[in-house]
Amino acid sequence: MNDWKFKPFIIDEKNRERFEKWTGPGGIAKNHKNGHFVTNPEKSFAALGKPLTECRIALLSTGGVHLADQPPFDLLSHDGDWTYREIPGDTPEADIRFSHSHIDTSEAEKDPNCMFPLTRLRDLAGEGYIGGVAPLHIGMMGFVPAIEKILEETGPEVAKKLVDAGTDAVLLTPG
């Protein structure tokens, strides 16, 4: 395996200031009265049970991912849209669409792999870097000030579906 030269990400003064900008009066709350930032109530950590070369990987993206024949996300609600779309692992790239209220999706529309790298996942399975592509992937639109909906409804529901689908690990990408 490649020896990636990762650096630990450490919260320094600059990062702290940046975070305070999000949470301060001029930040998210300025335009979204329910917008706030929270920490996971439980900081869970599951160890990888087998080598990556044997793992079936699923994608979850908050980049507004859905299929052409699924309803797009609600881009107007002040509480956001906490629903999710089930994307089968064998979905052709041409069927993937993006609808998002807060990011530019033009590059992802040109090449879905920028945001939702399903074809790249197939490539990695083909070369044996991972065990396979999981049967179920998840599309969401990440603008959700209604945080309790994520924690109490969407989160547990999606987690159960991924478990039932036999998912070994998940790669998440932000919108």
Binding site: N40, L52, E107, M115, Y129, G142, G175
Partner: protein, 90 residues
Amino acid sequence: MCHQTVGLMQGRIEKAGIPCVSVTIRPEITYHTGASRSVYLRFPMGRPIGEAGDADAQLLVMRAILSVLESATEPETHLEAPFRWRRVRA
């Protein structure tokens, strides 16, 4: 908000027993969610895996991110990847 939604979903999926790794472009937000494993890329919003049409670079980024599933042994492992936008090379 998107980064927070990722971090919170990650927490719920991890709680169900599935290991997760997330990409982040706003690491200060991901850090605050207490996500299990994250990789910070200094990439523009909307393209967390890399440029449109550059499959080789996207694959390199994906291999690096996925490797953290194996290498991370502690909760809240937040790393910065050694890539720069438009200079993704091994």
